[in-house]
């Protein structure tokens, strides 16, 4: 591990990408994630590892540049924030449909429309319920610290290549903009073209050695074949759901009430737990780390123990639907969260726990 550094979450994403041997980064500036583009242009990773960094003309272009590099078996990624992510939905659907591995980071801001540049978690539906067209899923990781921003970049690439599926890091303006301690692993060398030829026989980089041609496409004009492909895709998602659920439980052992929150809201909930427990309210936190696949079972398992669950998210209540699916009516589930870039305070969340769950 490297020495301890103090870095913004956004910068940590950039550094982690260089260190994990990413081959290409294509992106378009947008607040509050521009530090990633700025960090990576400043760092000149083309000199450090040979990694390509290119500012695209739009998010539409950047996600399609990622498509091109990913189709060549390279580790490529892009980053954006909500309005830019809307523009990428077409590309993400194609990438999922063509079964290409890549990493996408969304540093979420408030919407809809141009909205606000302040933090939000209102892109949950877009991310995990399919923002683009067709039956597809994005493997979604939700970091709650700068260290996790750094750790999840190599993890996202690993999962993306394991399942040949796009992986999303869904974060927000708080985690992107804040600085915390962070440590990085040693440099992982980029794969050579020979290694890619060996490891990714599906990739398109020319018919090496006269092998049969490779085709990367998401088109299937015959419905019978397209359905067969959809069935295969769904089988892959069931594998992901079986193998990749990740979550963290904080102070849950004696909890009578439960917060479910991810990303920066999980941090605020931890502060709320301090306040609540000082008043004798035994509340814990279940923090989903993967939003797809979602920890339905872990939440369901808590229903035998807790009297009620407050889902906390900076939105009008998106993730709460998945909490309710998990709980299936066994205990009371409510949502609390500010919107439009307003961040819920620990005091407000505690108040909501009391009025919506404990007294409600």
């Amino acid at each position: 591990m490297s020495e301890i550094r103090l870095m913004k979450g956004n910068e940590a994403i950039g550094e982690a990408a260089i260190l994990c041997g990413a081959d290409a980064y294509y992106a378009y500036p947008i607040t509050p994630q521009s530090e990633i583009v700025e960090y990576l242009t400043l760092q000149q990773p083309e000199k450090r590892t040979g990694m390509v960094v290119l500012q695209a003309e739009s998010e539409v272009a950047s996600i399609n540049m990622v498509y091109g590099a990913a189709a060549g078996g390279k580790r490529s990624f892009t980053t954006s924030s909500s309005p830019g992510m809307s523009l990428m939905q077409e590309g993400l659907s194609y990438i999922a449909g063509a079964e290409l591995p890549c990493v996408v980071v969304n540093v979420v801001r408030g919407g809809p429309g141009l909205g606000t540049i302040q933090p939000s978690q209102a892109d949950y539906f877009q991310t995990v319920k399919g923002g683009g067209h067709g039956d597809y899923k994005l493997i979604t990781l939700a970091p709650a610290s700068v260290q996790e921003m750094a750790d999840f970049v190599p993890l996202a690439f690993e999962l993306a290549f394991k399942y040949r599926n796009p992986a999303m890091i869904l974060t927000d303006g708080v985690i992107g903009q804040m600085m915390e301690k962070v440590q990085f692993p040693e440099q992982t060398p980029r794969l050579t073209d020979e290694e890619i030829t060996e490891k990714y026989p599906w990739a398109t980089f020319g018919r090496k050695g006269g092998r049969e041609r490779n085709i990367i496409t998401s088109l299937n004009l015959k419905s019978e074949l397209q359905e067969q492909f959809n069935i295969k895709l769904q089988a892959k998602y069931r594998e992901v759901e079986k193998n990749e659920v990740r979550y963290e439980k904080i102070q849950c052992d004696d909890a009578e009430y439960l917060f479910v929150a991810y990303g920066s809201s999980a941090r605020t909930c931890q502060k709320t737990i301090e306040l609540a427990r000082a008043e004798g309210i035994k509340v814990g936190l279940l923090r989903p780390i993967t939003l797809y696949p979602y920890p339905y079972k872990a939440i369901d398992d808590m229903t035998s123990q807790v009297k009620g669950i407050l889902s906390v998210e900076m939105s009008a209540g998106q993730m709460v639907e998945d909490v309710r699916l998990a709980v299936n009516g066994k205990v009371k589930v409510e949502h609390y969260g500010r919107m439009g870039g307003m961040v819920s305070s620990p005091g407000e969340i505690l108040e909501a726990l009391k009025t919506k769950i404990i007294e409600g």
Binding site: E57, S62, N64, G72, E90, G210, R213, I216, T217
Partner: protein
């Protein structure tokens, strides 16, 4: 006597007048009989074969009639979202700077929905080849108006003929990209006569060879026909193309640096 002649007696090396390049698959072309795509595919693949670059070439297919180009081009292919081929090619070429990357796009793909990707890939001087098939219509979706549809031309979405008041003027993307310093070779050709096919093939070869010295985009427009969309016989559509398309889209080399 006839029953004694076997096929292998006829198909002999010395009797062959045409050999299909192995870089075209045996799949039946999905293009309408009389359409220029088949010839454009063939000469592109012949160039790749003759240059011996099959092992290092990746093609990007668009959305449009040639969406299935990967079924016919027997090389590594990627299929891009509508209009995004130049961005896809950029992403690929940047991580494989020593490979040959080309896009094969129609007019709707390149000159309408993909205008931004086209202009910016050209402006960045990506070291790629763009083959642009312009037949003035959306063929695959059933003959709708394209940005390159000529004034007065009837299509299924300009049933009374294209008017400048409603739809503006036909877009000359080739002339536009020729103004960009990132583009080093621009030519407009056609594939309706053997002489023009030879010229077009020569230009395509040059456009691939140009990738060897990393000096920017090589852009080849092929003005083509769409006999189905234009609702003409193949022969008539070629005559119509010569009379109407060529004056608006004149053939020749626009830029060679």
């Amino acid at each position: 006597m006839a029953e004694n002649i076997k096929l292998e007696d006829i198909i002999k090396e010395e009797n062959k007048v045409f050999i299909k390049t192995p870089l075209l698959t045996d799949n039946e072309l999905s293009y309408c009989p009389g359409c220029g795509h088949g010839v454009a595919h063939r000469i592109t693949m012949e160039v790749i074969e003759e240059m011996g670059i099959m092992e290092d070439t990746i093609g990007i297919a668009p959305v449009g009639c040639s969406v299935l180009a990967y079924e016919f081009m027997n090389i590594d292919m990627q299929q891009a979202a509508h209009g995004r081929a130049p961005a896809v090619a950029t992403g690929l070429k940047r991580v494989y700077p020593n490979k040959y990357v080309f896009t094969y796009q129609g007019d709707g793909d390149l000159a309408a929905i993909g205008t931004a990707e086209t202009i910016h890939a050209c402006n960045r001087g990506e070291n790629i080849t763009i083959i642009f098939i312009n037949n003035g219509i959306y063929g695959m979706t059933g003959g709708q108006m394209a940005p390159t549809t000529l004034p007065g031309m009837k299509t299924s979405t300009s049933p009374y003929g294209r008017t400048q008041e409603l739809a503006g003027h036909p877009l000359k993307m080739t002339e536009i990209v020729a103004t960009l310093p990132g583009v080093r070779f621009v030519a407009r050709h056609a594939v309706d006569t053997p002489a023009r096919v030879r010229k077009a093939k020569k230009a395509i070869r040059k456009a691939f060879e140009n990738q060897n010295d990393n000096k920017g985009v090589s852009f080849i427009e092929i003005v083509s026909n769409c006999n189905s969309g234009w609702k003409m016989t193949p022969r008539k559509s070629n005559e119509w193309m010569v009379e109407n398309m060529f004056p608006y889209y004149p053939l020749g080399v626009l830029k060679d640096e």
